[in-house]
């Protein structure tokens, strides 16, 4: 239970980070609180969009999905079920891989680091880890 609660809280934090970056990108807020300027370099680089879709928007949708799933997984009838944990682990795993690709672009292609992107990376990695721990818990209790 604690793992799914943690996943929900982390997903909410990730959702706010992604929403902040997306609102900045569509011009709804002023400058990003970044300090180094690396956030703007990354956010306005050609790699801030994938097939015309803002990467920050992909983050908003991804975290919203993880939040909905982790909250649903807290329902009493789903607490002992395996599939919500497996689905959460799979989605968070995709998020980790996507984040790894974006981090590669930041370091080796754009040559700038966005602190908010790093924060999001830490959040998605943490969600992945707690989801894995939830799967292990279920395996130990014989629910796999």
């Amino acid at each position: 239970m604690i793992h799914r609660m943690s996943a929900a809280l982390l997903s909410l934090a990730g959702l706010f980070i992604a929403a902040y970056l997306y609102l900045y990108k569509i011009g709804k807020i002023g400058n990003l609180a970044c300090g180094t300027g690396g956030c703007e370099t990354v956010q306005w680089s050609p790699w801030s969009q994938i097939a015309g879709i803002e990467v920050a928007l992909v983050g908003v949708l991804g975290y919203a999905g993880l939040l909905a799933l982790s909250l649903a997984a807290l329902r009493p009838e789903l607490v002992g079920r395996h599939w919500p944990a497996a689905l959460l682990t799979s989605l968070a795993g995709i998020g980790v891989l996507f984040t790894a690709y974006l981090t590669y672009l930041e370091i080796f292609v754009i040559h700038a680091i966005c602190r908010w992107c790093v924060a999001s990376g830490v959040v998605i990695l943490a969600i992945f880890i707690v989801a894995l721990l939830d799967l292990r818990r279920l395996a130990r209790t014989g629910n796999l």
Partner: protein, 227 residues
């Protein structure tokens, strides 16, 4: 069971607290007033664009033309202007292989981007466009975080040898607000969504933003213009 219920209650309390804080911060950021000194979204008059289609350097007979849509306050544009453009200029523009056209695309969230573009336009009146363009990009870290960037742009113009009486009058009148808006509108029309965006012979460029990639592209197009 009671322990589980207490745990759930603590979780929902923490969840609600995080949601309230997050929504509060986003709400504050959304309602905070933005600062723009040169008017945005002005109605473009025919006189704003007569004979003007960007700031051009390079031979009129160069086989390839690249149009750059950029924002003076965009850090990626700054890196491109200061690190890649000198090589592109030496290799391609000065040798007559490439003509470069610079157009303003000031993004709304950059409070000084339009002011910077206007400062460069006022310097252009006196034949000092590229000097001011380069100085504004070189000084981006100095002015982007300032409370008021106008005095810094003025300092750059003075160092570039601009007549300051004419410059001040031009800036105070917001003389080129329409021209900047026209550039922005033209960018929107061709599909510009981020900066810098390059158009190579009027087609959106999707490749790498470095001098080597652009040199290869220009060489390839020069050999095969129909490509």
């Amino acid at each position: 069971m009671a322990a589980t219920q207490a745990g759930m209650k603590r979780f929902y309390t923490l969840f609600a607290a995080l949601a309230v804080v997050g929504l509060g911060v986003l709400g504050y950021l959304l309602t905070r007033p933005a600062t723009v000194s040169i008017p945005a979204n002005v109605t473009v008059q025919a006189s704003d664009t007569s004979g003007f289609a960007g700031y051009v350097k390079g031979s009129p007979t160069a086989p390839v033309e690249i149009t750059e849509y950029a924002d003076y306050q965009c850090p990626f544009c700054q890196t491109f202007a200061t690190l890649q453009m000198p090589t592109i200029e030496d290799r391609l523009i000065k040798t007559g292989r490439l003509r470069w056209r610079y157009r303003d695309f000031p993004l709304q969230m950059h409070s000084f981007a339009r002011l910077a573009a206007h400062s460069a336009a006022c310097a252009d009146e006196q034949g000092k466009y590229w000097e001011q363009h380069d100085r504004i990009y070189e000084g981006q870290s100095e002015w982007a975080g300032a409370r008021n960037a106008a005095p810094l742009f003025r300092k750059y113009a003075e160092a570039a040898g601009v007549d300051m009486g004419r410059y001040d009058a031009c800036m105070q009148a917001g003389k080129y607000a329409g021209r900047i808006q026209a550039d922005y509108n033209s960018g929107v029309e061709v599909g510009v969504t981020s900066t810098p965006t390059l158009l190579v012979n009027s087609r959106l460029y999707r490749g790498r933003f470095d001098s080597d990639a652009i040199t290869k592209l220009v060489d390839s197009l020069a050999r095969n213009p129909a490509k």
